[in-house]
Symmetry: C2
Subunit: 240 residues, 2 copies
């Protein structure tokens, strides 16, 4: 992926201009790849959005970029966000010091209010493209500890979104789709396989190698491995 | 303002560590300066947040930075956001082309889903600092055309925010304060003057000079001028 280069996918042809469009949050992981395939299968022209928040970005964002093209997205944007500076680990863009009683010990990988921020950007893009649909691959099964992976959060965001922008006020209805929210990893994998997702193009590992290889041992790798086993689908992941 | 420099204000002393804290959205304008003064008057230690989204930033953010120090904020952060790339005017960070049927003509200054994005960052910072209060200077009088300046939007954001983060789930209640929402410009100015806000340190002009001087003619200048007249307060703005 190159931030400044431009590649037009075949699906952006004028003949499909009247097709409904959606904004899809795409991380390069297994879940969001499946969501993108689902949205495309439902007939949406998909404008994908990934975030560069300072970690693992080169490799992970390359997966996202390749997936967007492979699955037939209309566009893919990478937005840089510097939420990392809030976590006490990369204190940039400040002109008054953070007090020393700030909470410490927050890992670099931590993204505060993560799904709220991601969905807000999706809403901003939807406002520009005219999309009435946003897709996000949150899952309440694997991530039960995260408040912003629950159906009630998604529903509250949708309500807020419809009050935030002109489309909602004008009587249209913006929908936030979270089609994986109640699925197990095995169900997600089976769904993706049926839609032709090549999971070797997706990445889950927290300790991804620069060559794209997965460690096979971190929490995320173990959930993924188990998912393929439970789904009785051969795991195409490149483990090192 | 220098993004990398650090200045500690007097109010960050350990003696006030037990004081309640708030995140305050600060633009460098008249409204948010008043809100910051109100939050400080209510006893909050204030962590301010400004956004650099590519327009007028050097001068406007300098006003925000100076205001944060002058009014006694605890910290001030400037977060860079590249929402501008959504508007079709500064197409950076893309690796598939935007289709040619994208809506055009959106001005550079337009920020889609603006208050949703700003409040999401405020929520992220609140999650890190432990603040249970967010202040935003939205006003439904001057900006009646904007859906995200209405009380029902603020209320829906607050509901969503309490479902999005651990604090809300744990039974605490995060509050989004918009104390100016029903005030006229004159009422805002009178309130700020009573709290000691020096409005010469604030900026409203859409065509601000590099020396900080205002044009006196744009919509924003005219609303501001009228506000000082109605409030019967001498207008300290530097007009060119």
């Amino acid at each position: 992926m190159s931030d400044s280069s431009s590649v037009t996918t075949g699906s952006a042809s004028p003949a499909r201009a009247a097709q409904k469009s959606a904004v899809v949050l795409l991380s390069g992981g297994l879940d969001s790849a499946t969501v993108l395939a689902m949205a495309i299968a439902e007939g949406y022209q998909c404008d994908c959005l990934s975030f560069d928040y300072g970690q693992r970005h080169a490799t992970e964002l390359q997966f996202a970029s390749d997936l967007a093209v492979a699955l037939g997205a209309r566009t893919h944007r990478v937005v840089s966000i510097d939420l990392g500076s809030f976590g006490g680990s990369a204190l940039t863009d400040m002109d008054i010091a953070v007090p020393t009683d700030d909470p410490g010990g927050i890992p670099v990988t931590y993204v505060p209010a993560r799904n709220t921020v991601f969905l807000s950007y999706a809403l901003a893009l939807a406002e520009v493209t005219g999309a009435m649909d946003i897709f996000i691959g949150v899952n309440a099964v694997d991530y039960s500890g995260y408040p912003d992976c629950r159906p009630e959060f998604i529903s509250a965001f949708e309500t807020m979104a419809n009050l935030a922008t002109r489309v909602g006020v004008e009587g249209h209805r913006l929908t936030v789709h979270s089609p994986l929210i109640d699925l197990t990893k095995a169900e997600i994998i089976r769904r993706g396989v049926s839609l032709g997702v090549d999971y070797s193009q997706t990445v889950s590992c927290y300790q991804l190698g620069t060559d794209g290889s997965a460690c096979g041992e971190c929490d995320s790798c173990r959930i993924r491995k188990q998912g393929f086993m439970d789904a009785k689908v051969q795991d195409p992941t490149l483990y090192r």
